[in-house]
């Protein structure tokens, strides 16, 4: 067992974990944040996407011990404390960018990274950015529309919560 210290959505946590525990299992089962979804478990589908020190990662392909000392942001950390949706969540709502919703937490987290690195992406750049996230319902068009809609709210995006540097 090994002790790790992490900050998740601004709250500090310290736990003893087995080195083989995956970060997604730590978030879901130890901390109890089940918004991050376990999809394929093989780093293909992106449903488990979170941010570690400001970088989008697939939390099924990282051991919790590798995150020791990190600032983590999950889907639960996006909306305001009063429940007001984050502009990207709002864009997914407005554009009907989900059907079953299973992929949505990962889609929203990767959208955040796409727009931080390229605030005004073309449709091609959006589709390339979503390359590591699978949706089995929508055919992607409404998701692409939602990313574009979110990109139009640049002032709101500038006040995004940030995990780490």
């Amino acid at each position: 067992m090994r002790t790790i210290n992490v900050s998740v959505n601004g709250t500090k946590h310290s736990h003893e974990v087995e080195p083989r525990m995956l970060l997604i299992h730590y978030l879901r089962e130890v901390i109890g944040l089940t918004g991050t979804h376990m999809g394929c478990e093989t780093s293909l589908c992106g449903a488990c996407t979170i941010e570690v020190n400001g970088k989008a990662v697939k939390s099924c392909t990282m051991f919790a011990v590798q995150a020791d000392g990190a600032e983590i942001l999950t889907i639960e950390g996006l909306a305001a404390p009063d429940g007001t949706l984050h502009p990207i969540q709002d864009a997914f709502w407005t554009e009907h960018a989900l059907q079953c919703g299973f992929c949505t937490p990962g889609m929203i987290m990767i959208t955040k990274q796409i727009l931080e690195r390229n605030p005004n992406p073309t449709e091609h750049e959006i589709r390339e950015g979503l390359d590591g996230n699978l949706c089995r319902c929508t055919g992607y068009q409404h998701i692409v529309n939602a990313v574009r809609t979110a990109s139009l709210h640049r002032d709101a995006l500038a006040s995004l919560p940030k995990a780490g540097a």
Partner: protein, 284 residues
């Protein structure tokens, strides 16, 4: 999918890490190849040493006309480095082709070259760049050419206890044009074939040609026959096509669900020609 149990060490210095590796521990960098293998229990290391966070392996710097990329540098850092984009655009362009954003945020150049996947993108570019791979262990360091380093499928010249510490690529003078062209397997993002080309021309003739090929066979390679067919020749599309058609000669082309050996060999020629043309268009 849960990996077998293992002991985990996160040393604060390269020296400490090398001492643990000398005792038989295995290195963990970004984990983008190792962790999936551990989850499938294809790899069952008893002791992992986390070298992914060592500051000593995380740098990109120019020294004596060469660019030194620390093994811990992520693919995202390679693709977005102003220094590399300006002075060695081929390595940055190639990094941008790897996996997806999340994989590029975690995966490292040292881990990728040490893994030596026969469909990985970097080896093609590194062959074309005449790159050098620097290895370090408790015994000291040694510097190998790409042809000395990449030996076979998932097989390199790394000895037990030794890790890749950096990759050295040249500053490509303004006259050199480069390109990486990839035909990818859309589900995995891996190359079915990937061709890297690097050319210089003077007076209407090729003065330097380098071609690296990945994905075609069990090991990425430098296509010296293509290079030899072009150096000193006139810069014409017919010459490019004739030379590119040689790229699969003597290679044991792989066959799988996604591409037969014959199709792969055809793609290798077509993508080599594309890479040469694109590189030429970027040369002065």
């Amino acid at each position: 999918m849960i990996a077998n149990s293992f002991e985990y060490s996160a040393p604060g210095s390269l020296k400490e890490a090398l001492a643990l590796l000398a005792e038989g521990a295995k290195p963990l960098a970004g984990g983008m190849s190792l962790i999936p293998m551990m989850k499938l229990r294809l790899a069952n290391p008893e002791h992992l040493v986390d070298i992914g966070r060592l500051p000593e392996l995380n740098y990109i710097r120019e020294e004596n006309g060469e660019l030194h990329i620390g093994a811990g540098v992520t693919h995202f850092e390679v693709e977005s480095s102003p220094l590399l984009l300006g002075k060695c655009p081929l390595i940055a362009e190639t990094a941008a082709h790897i996996g997806d954003i999340q994989v590029r945020n975690r995966g490292t150049i040292g881990g990728s070259v040490a893994h030596a996947d026969p469909s990985a993108d970097y080896p093609a570019a590194l062959h074309a760049l005449d790159a050098k791979i620097v290895l370090v262990s408790g015994e000291g360091t040694r510097t190998l050419s790409t042809e000395e380093f990449f030996l076979d499928t998932f097989t390199t010249a790394l000895e037990p206890g030794e890790i890749v510490s950096e990759v050295i690529v040249p500053v490509d003078a303004g006259l050199t044009g480069t390109s990486y062209q990839k035909f990818l397997q859309p589900a995995s993002g891996f190359a079915i074939v990937g061709a890297a080309a690097r050319v210089r021309q003077e007076g209407g003739k090729f003065t330097l040609v380098r071609v690296g090929m990945t994905g075609l066979s069990g090991n990425a390679y430098r296509a010296r026959n293509v290079e030899d067919a072009l150096v000193g020749k006139e810069v014409t599309d017919a010459n490019i096509q004739a030379a590119a058609a040689l790229v699969a000669d003597g290679q044991d082309a792989s066959s799988d669900l996604h591409a037969t050996a014959e199709y792969r060999a055809h793609l290798a020629g077509a993508y080599t020609a594309r890479a040469l043309r694109a590189a030429l268009a970027r040369s002065a």
